[in-house]
Amino acid sequence: MTISLAFSSRRFSVRGALLRDAWPWLLLLVAAYGVVPWAASAYLIDALLIPFLALSLAAVGLNLLTGYAGQLSLGSAAFMAVGAFAAYNLNLRVDGLPLLVSIVLAGLAATAIGLVFGLPSLRLRGFYLAVSTLAAQFFVQWVLVKFSWFSNDNPSGVIDAPPLVVGGIAFDTPAGRYLFALAIVTVLTLLCWRLVQSQTGHHFIAVRDNEQAARVIGVPVLRTKLLAFAISSFVIGVAGVLWGFVYLRTVEPAGFNLDRSLQILFIVIIGGLATIRGAFFGAALIVVFPLLLSRLGSLLLGQWFDSGVLEMSQRIVLGALIIFFLIVEPQGLAALWQRARRRIWIS
């Protein structure tokens, strides 16, 4: 009838608009899958692209919770660690378990741990969740170091990640590992994108913007927060698996410390809270930034610019960037990108 016609014509134009907006991303995907594996050097892949992918995924996960649902978490690295160690142990101890299944189960393990720590605080408002997630951060790290069972009683505490084999295909070259990570990141990002567009995603935003009003309207506030936390932890857990299995090729507790948690949060802030693309912008900056800074430093200060100075300067610049973005452009790099695109489009 008239309604459905009016609606379907609008859907068409929406689809058209979507295509117009989406073409840079489609182009990027084509380049990412089709060009990079052949064109990029092993160094570029192993040192930059793969950590970029893992960190982006973690940031997508954290953004769901902190950017969209407005709940602050300082324990992302702990959930990454849970994911990595769970996947390792599942792979090791359960015979014949396909890798992808281990990864999904690892994500669920991260969700479970997340809910244990998150549940007491999600009923409350304010900074309680921040403290809870810090509890998770410190506790999980301690458990993984203390109980060598998790590291298969390996004397050095550092274990090798299993080979990446899916359905008989081994992803053991840099390009192969890259494609493996890329595939997982694309799928999960797509699902998260669909989520934030959906009604549930809008519930996240409603709870963030005005919890009281959301409750009065009928949005199930506690359930929404729990869902955001659960999904976020799952995604972050999988990102942890990527970090250990694909990037480092080892699984150890050291890299999953408070600094890592804060790094993911910084990525989300700099990239743009409550945007999916922000995670990628932020991760790109975080991955590339130390290299740029070290080059710049050596150039300007020569001998004096040793690793200690580099590390401290990194901290200062990073902190300053956070403050800068919060004051000047709270929507982060994603907003700057939007503005740049609009300007190009107009010109």
Binding site: Q199, H202, G218, V219
Partner: protein
């Protein structure tokens, strides 16, 4: 453009009576059914402060009831008790005949109650349309997984919710702003969006907490028209808290006056206007300035 549903709605310019005409233009359909909202002996105190004292109040179907009173009279406390944000120290609140000690806030939507807020409670991160669509939350059953996949029940619910939102935007003249982030709109329009979000849920009871606060004279008059049209079109019982007395007398079927937490008058506007106690407590000599 526009759905055929739009054709069934009265054009506002044609049928709405002017703001300050005689009240009770719409017939009161008082059935033998229980009142939509009833407060019995409701008292509320915080520490040493007695915010409400034994307030009795009843609101019937299709009635527009205004609650007025000087600042601090307890009007906001009243609405908060009605929506379960406060638990009355004494007395009960009944919704559609069901007596309750404390209204379950999270189930308000399902009980057919919707409200707007004095200080605006829109979701700034969403567009006008998305804010209004959220008002349909109680009609949506699909899980997040279904929503991500986007077919079947989830898709139907989404299309339906959007259609309802479209209709409401037409009704309240908000179509032009559908895609705008709600925080970008001027104050008066934001208030209208909040009304739309409350109305789209098709509530049996609509609580409006100072819906015209901060508006210009024109905006107030428009809002009054919308409120009246809402009652006429959607058969909603409306309780509104307002300061602008002249507007209130023109718009409502009945007026309740609160003073220091007690009800001091309850009746048709014309009667209340003449009530000595009310005049003494509140109106003073301001009948002219209220216009």
């Amino acid at each position: 453009m526009g759905s055929t549903l739009g054709a069934t709605l009265p054009g506002l310019a044609e049928t709405a009576p002017p703001a300050h005409s005689s009240p009770a233009a719409a017939p009161l359909v008082r059935t033998s059914a229980a009142p939509v909202l009833q407060l019995e002996g409701v008292s509320l105190s915080f520490g040493g402060v007695q915010a409400l004292r034994h307030v009795d109040l009843a609101l019937h179907e299709r009635e527009i009831l205004a609650v007025i009173g000087p600042n601090g009279a307890g009007k906001s406390s009243l609405v908060n008790v009605m929506t379960g944000l406060y638990r009355p120290t004494q007395g009960t609140v009944s919704l559609g005949g069901r007596r309750l000690r404390q209204v379950p806030t999270a189930r308000l939507g399902r009980l057919g109650v919707a409200r707007t807020f004095q200080n605006l409670a829109l979701f700034k991160g969403l567009s006008v349309r998305d804010n209004i669509v959220l008002g349909r939350v109680n009609a949506m059953r699909a899980s997040f997984v279904e929503q991500i996949i986007g077919v079947g029940r989830a898709r139907r619910e989404r299309i339906d919710a959007r259609a309802q939102a479209e209709q409401m935007m037409d009704f309240l003249d908000l179509r032009a702003y559908a895609e705008r982030p709600v925080g970008d709109l001027p104050y008066g329009l934001q208030k209208r969006v909040e009304l739309a979000r409350a109305l789209v849920a098709r509530p049996r009871l609509l609580l409006l907490d100072e819906p015209m606060a901060g508006m210009t004279v024109t905006e107030k008059s428009e809002m009054a028209d919308f409120v009246r049209a809402a009652r006429d079109q959607f058969d909603t019982a409306i309780l509104l808290i307002e300061h602008d007395i002249g507007l209130v007398f023109g718009l409502s079927d009945r007026v309740v006056v609160l003073h220091h937490g007690s009800k001091i008058a309850d009746g048709a506007p014309a009667a209340v206007r003449q009530d000595a106690a009310v005049i003494e407590a509140y109106l003073g000599v301001t009948q002219q300035e209220a216009a």
